[in-house]
Subunit: 188 residues, 2 copies
DNA sequence: CCACCCATGTAACTAGTTACATGATTTC
DNA sequence: GAAATCATGTAACTAGTTACATGGGTGG
């Protein structure tokens, strides 16, 4: 499992509450891992039970807010886990299944979804460009910053890739539809 | 959920047994979706109960082998599902978490894993090149074939991308380690 | 005082993985 | 006759999602 370890990495960077973690995982950290607040609270509970982290009720203001920090047992676990090897994950997008369905029993008019996806990838690229500008360019090039920058670049490459591919796919579908639809009104 | 629909697409292409589906999902179809035989049998059972598919014991040879085919209810469900819209999936690779851990509490010596990943991506690219040669080049350019080819290209682009990025990451780590590791953290 | 954000959780479900199990057929 | 492969499943667990719930603090 990766989520507890992703949370610990985040807590090593800066100790904070579950709520803050949830927000950080929705924003900047979200380009490389994502989690809902329900999952986060569950994992925080488990990790505290395992002695990997501990929490203090940082409360002058009687909310239930707790701040979590990584303990040495957690650090050891993180090192152990980070040193093991796994196969890279595959690209696994339901949209490919839709397209394959369109190829077999189509045309299903997937152009709209493609346009939606193109906009989505463009938006992510814009966000990443802002993060890159803000966090990585014109910053001291420490070891940590260079590695984190390279991780962000993976996200940028991925989005750029999917954007270009989606445009190609849209062109192809438009071209196929164009030659199919007008001459024979049988379909649609 | 996508798996039942992925299975139906596969069964539309060619009716077959659960065992055959499992093999097809490990091989060629595996570049866009993957499933274990346990999952496949479970889904086949559910889909048959739902009336989306039906099976016949194709048995002159008393094995329990059953061949599955998609029924019209299944085709309708497939059309309905394929026409809905979702957000594209994100890149979500535990290795990014490992790298982030290395950035915070490193160096952890992730070069070996990177070399492993580079070999893996190269292997997939080789496989895809064979599939492309065999299934898509010098073939009649029907609508279905062109779409399926474009799906394969997404896989090729993805692997090419990850390969190039992994090599950059490996170079970066080598460069950082080289200046960091020896007795003095400052340089050498 | 109402809406919105802060902050925490529980419960139930779905999807995917791992481990285990069984028997028949083909190949050496 | 042993080993590999064909062919099917069950059981238990893990990870992730969706829906629901609660209560305090802040700004207009």
């Amino acid at each position: 499992m990766s989520l507890p370890h992703a949370l610990m990495v985040s807590l090593v960077e800066r100790p904070c509450s579950g709520y803050d973690l949830a927000r950080r995982f929705e924003k900047t950290i979200g380009y490389f891992w994502r989690a809902s607040h329900q999952q986060i609270y569950r994992e925080l509970g488990r990790m505290e039970a395992a002695g990997w982290i501990y929490s203090t009720a940082d409360d002058q203001s009687n909310t239930g807010r707790r701040t979590y920090q990584v303990q040495s047992a957690g650090l050891n676990e993180l090192k152990r886990w980070a040193s093991q090897t796994d196969d890279p994950v595959m690209l696994r997008d339901p949209f490919f299944v839709r397209l394959r369905a369109d190829a077999m029993i189509g045309p299903l008019g997937l152009q709209d979804e493609l346009r939606h996806r193109i906009a989505h990838h463009q938006l992510k690229l814009d966000t990443y460009a802002i993060i890159e500008q803000h966090d990585f360019l014109n910053r001291p090039q420490t070891r940590a910053i260079q590695i984190q920058h390279q991780i962000l670049k993976a996200g940028i490459l991925y989005e750029r890739n999917m954007l270009a591919w989606s445009q190609q796919m849209l062109d192809l579908l438009n071209q196929l539809d164009q030659t199919h639809t007008p001459s024979h009104p049988s379909e649609r």
